[in-house]
Structure formats: structure tokens, C-alpha cells
Amino acid sequence: MTLHEFLYMGGYAAFVWPAYGLALVVLVVNLVVPHRRERQTLRQIARQHRRVRRSG
């Protein structure tokens, strides 16, 4: 099988590749969003904690 044949998908490239592309996007977004949120939350809590310690 050549690369061209592979990308051509027997004429169904316009349906197969968007399906796989969309799946990739959805999986990656679901990975990145909570990853950033966890770091953000920890940073925020540390900042608050520092402020409390300083004032107390």
C-alpha cells in the first residue's frame, strides 16, 4: 500500500479522516483542560496560604 492509497481511504477520505481528526481533538482537549486546572488550583491555594501566614 502506498501513502497515497492510505490517505485516499478507498475514496472515503472526506469521511474517515475528519472522524479520526475530531476524535484526536476531543481526546487532547480533555487531557489538557484538567491538567491546567489542577496546576492553577494548586498555585492559587499556595498563594492564599502565603497571604494567611503573612497576615497571621
Partner: protein, 247 residues
């Protein structure tokens, strides 16, 4: 056993335990996805009727299975929330909703992309497609409900009731292809007799289904950790954790 639940069900232990588990789950997901993609897109033969268009199955069917599996996890967590008020179950329920919505969305769109060349249309209002669309609205309704109610624990209980009521939709989705006449084909894999699909297509399909399942657990644990950090932000272990991380 109750001692065990008490220990590992506490937010602190659950957080640390899930944190150690994540790299393993992520690694297994990556390997399964790589194997499934190569097998499904390159090694598996084209279908004798559908040509290469059938390869959408390796995304579509795992997504559709996950859309229902995640819902059942959400509803089970909802039951635990209502009966035992467990914080980890509240987090599990809330963490599952966006993932379930994502899988449902993927199942609908990939099905539509498969329907166009095979049925000649992107969408029909038949039982299978409509009940799956209702599932998407149930997930979105749950998410909206969580952000509409200020108090986290009240929101969790309200969401639990919604999740449990929505369970009625799951058998409707599953049996829709048998109860009503529909364009959607009947089950090929979960039939009681031997599955009507060749091993060279079935194995990559099962591989992808397993990959999606472990992907879900990888991400849902990460989301549960975010939920626990939010709800436990006042407790000592969270502060110490934040300080240790050097933020």
C-alpha cells in the same frame, strides 16, 4: 471492608492514590491507542460492502459504548452520593459528566460522518440517533445544573437525582435498534451467538474500546483530583501539597 472504604474513600488518600496511578494508566492508553490505530487503519482489510468507510467504526463504536458506560458510572456515583454522601463519589460524578458528553458528541458526529456515504444522509430522526442525542442533552443538563447551584453539596445531590432519572434512557438507546425499525444496523459484537465480524476487524475494535475505557479512567481521576482540591481547599493536606509543589 468498611475500614478500607473509609481510608481510601477519604479525599486525601484518594488524591494521592490516583496521582500515583495516573502515569501507568496514561502509558497503557498510549500503547493501546497506537496499536489500535495501526491495526484499524492499516492492517485490517477493507469491508467487502463498505470499503474503507467502515474504518470509522474504530472510533464510533468505542465512543458510543463509552457514552453509556460513563453515564452508568455517573448514575452509580449519584446513588452513592444520595445514600452515603461520599465526597469522592460527588467528585466522580461531576468529573465524569464532561467526558461522557465528549464521548456522546464523538459518537454522534462520527456516526453522522459514517451515515453520509452509507445511508446517504448525515442525520435521521430515528430511535437510535434521537435517544443518543437525548443522552447528550442529559450530560449538558447535568453540567448546567452543577454551575447553576452555588453550594457544591446541594448541586451534587440535585445532579445525582437528574443522573438517576436519566438512566431510563440507557436501555432505550441499547434496544432502540430492536424495538423500532431504524436505519441503524443491529448489534454485531454483543450478540449472544458468535459476533458477525472477522477477528481482524473485531480485535482492533476491542483494543480501541479498551483504550477509550482506560483513557476515561486516566482523565476522570485527574478531574476528580481537581474537584477534591476545590472542595478541600481549606484542609491542611491540600495546603501542604500546594506548598510542597512550590507554587
Amino acid at each position: 471492608m468498611f475500614h478500607w472504604i473509609h481510608k481510601y474513600g477519604s479525599p486525601k488518600y484518594f488524591y494521592n492514590f490516583s496521582r500515583r496511578l495516573t502515569p501507568w494508566l496514561g502509558g497503557i492508553t498510549a500503547v493501546l491507542l497506537a496499536v489500535g490505530l495501526v491495526w484499524g487503519l492499516v492492517i485490517a482489510p477493507p469491508d467487502y460492502q463498505q470499503g474503507d468507510s467502515y474504518r470509522i467504526i474504530f472510533i464510533h463504536v468505542p465512543s458510543a459504548w463509552m457514552s453509556m458506560f460513563v453515564y452508568m458510572i455517573m448514575a452509580t456515583s449519584g446513588f452513592i452520593v444520595l445514600v452515603w454522601r461520599m465526597k469522592v463519589a460527588e467528585a466522580m460524578m461531576r468529573a465524569s459528566a464532561p467526558l461522557g458528553a465528549s464521548f456522546t458528541f464523538l459518537a454522534l458526529v462520527t456516526g453522522s460522518l459514517w451515515g453520509k456515504p452509507m445511508w446517504g444522509t448525515y442525520w435521521v430522526w430515528d430511535a437510535r440517533l434521537t435517544s443518543e442525542l437525548i443522552l447528550l442533552f442529559l450530560y449538558l443538563g447535568f453540567i448546567a445544573l452543577q454551575s447553576a447551584i452555588e453550594d457544591r453539596r446541594t448541586a451534587a445531590r440535585a445532579g445525582a437525582v437528574l443522573a438517576l432519572v436519566g438512566v431510563v434512557n440507557i436501555p432505550i438507546i441499547h434496544y432502540s435498534v430492536e424495538w423500532w425499525s431504524t436505519l441503524h444496523q443491529g448489534p454485531t459484537v454483543t450478540k449472544l451467538s458468535a459476533p458477525s465480524i472477522t477477528l481482524n476487524m473485531l480485535l482492533p475494535l476491542l483494543d480501541m474500546a479498551l483504550a477509550f475505557t482506560i483513557y476515561y479512567f486516566t482523565i476522570v481521576l485527574k478531574r476528580v483530583r481537581c474537584e477534591l482540591l476545590d472542595s478541600e481547599s481549606g484542609s491542611n493536606w491540600v495546603r501542604e501539597l500546594a506548598d510542597d509543589k512550590g507554587y
